[in-house]
């Protein structure tokens, strides 16, 4: 069991999730600016036979 077993929980806003989401959001936006989604779309609309074990 945890050492803090009998201490009541504090309601405190955590910043870490917001920072994490912001960092990955920035990464995603960089990806969009280099037009990566068009490449993803191109890949996702073609059947990759070797990827599914055929061919």
């Amino acid at each position: 069991m945890m050492d803090t077993k009998k201490k009541p929980l504090k309601q405190k806003i955590r910043l870490a999730p917001f920072v994490t989401i912001f960092i990955f959001l920035v990464l995603g936006i960089i990806g969009i600016t280099v037009d990566e989604p068009s490449r993803v779309l191109e890949q996702a609309t073609q059947i990759c036979l070797s990827c599914i074990g055929i061919g």
């Binding site: 069991m1 009998k6 999730p17 599914i52």
Partner: protein, 305 residues
């Protein structure tokens, strides 16, 4: 709450597999929705898939990274990793419990009456190795004579791809059957292995081999929406141990990387010690049980872990 979760799982299954015209077209969906990331493991070569699989896309981008750079395109997978990271930052492995079609498939298989077994805990670390090697390093560095990498995880292991894409495409396009070889039988072996294992144990693929779950697990401590233990209310009755489909002992490790936030432990806790929180603020609050309720024996509903 479990009923709500089942409905959410069904909703995500339909949303990510909503192209029902495939029996007519005999092919896959090619529309603009495929620019949207599937939060769970859902092969984009599945005839019904409407979204892209983050693992498949990431491997393809890394496998072709040299060719992209030669063409002046900076396709490093940032869009895909960014999307996965945003999902992970919000809910982490809650995706596995609420939005993954292959997770739902395993849960349904586990309802088949049979002897139930646990899973040896160290096997959980395999999926981190698969994420590192088969999804990142091998596609990036194991090149063919033309300088292309390969989608190692999809090609050699992914049972979701075999189930959702390989088998349906063979049915829809009989001409492809001539291409069946050792690669396909290897993948078929893994599919049947995990199907049989899922009947006998809870979510074996999620727990041992899913690289997407491994990626989301990295956010277990910092994700926005997570379960929280109130140590002051916990009596160490271990009711949460018995119901967890992932084998987590929640009151001993509240930030366990295996937790899929299915809320089974929250429901089982008679003392309201486990609540759902968003960004540090608790959002679920059950009424405190009466003394009579507390004296009732706790019934273990799942002993497979």
């Amino acid at each position: 709450m479990d009923l709500i979760r089942k409905w959410v799982q069904a909703l995500f299954f339909i949303l990510t597999n909503g192209y029902w015209n495939f029996p007519v077209t005999k092919g896959i969906y090619k529309g603009p929705l495929k620019i949207v990331c599937s939060p769970g493991l859902n092969c984009y070569s599945c005839p019904a898939a409407t979204t892209y699989c983050p693992l498949g896309s990431l491997q393809q981008l890394l496998a072709g990274i040299r060719m992209s750079i030669e063409n002046g395109q900076l396709f490093f997978g940032l869009y895909v990793v960014g999307t996965m990271g945003v999902i992970g930052g919000f809910v982490g492995r809650m995706v596995c419990g609420w939005a993954c079609p292959f997770g739902l498939f395993q849960e349904l298989l586990n309802k088949i009456p049979s002897p139930k077994f646990g899973i040896w805990p160290p096997l959980r670390y395999i999926k981190y190795g698969l994420l590192l090697f088969m999804v990142i390093l091998l596609p990036l560095f194991a090149l063919d004579e033309f300088g292309f990498g390969s989608t190692w995880f999809c090609k050699y292991l992914c049972p979701a791809g075999t189930l959702e894409a390989g088998l349906p495409m063979l049915f829809l396009q009989p001409g492809l059957r001539a291409n069946i070889g050792p690669l396909f039988f290897n993948k078929l072996f893994f599919l049947f292995l995990f199907i049989i294992w899922a009947v006998l144990a809870s979510r074996p693929f999620c727990r041992t081999a899913c690289p997407l779950g491994a990626f989301y697990a990295l956010f277990s401590r910092i994700k926005l929406v997570k379960l929280r233990l109130d140590p002051a209310k916990c009596t160490d009755c271990k009711a949460c141990h018995n119901v967890c489909p992932m084998g987590v002992r929640f009151n001993e490790s509240p930030d366990d990387m295996e937790c899929i936030s299915c809320l089974a432990c929250s429901k089982a806790c008679k003392f309201n010690a486990i609540t759902l929180e968003i960004g540090g603020l608790s959002i679920t609050s059950q009424p405190r049980p009466s003394v009579c309720q507390l004296k009732k024996p706790t019934q273990a509903t799942n002993t497979s872990n």
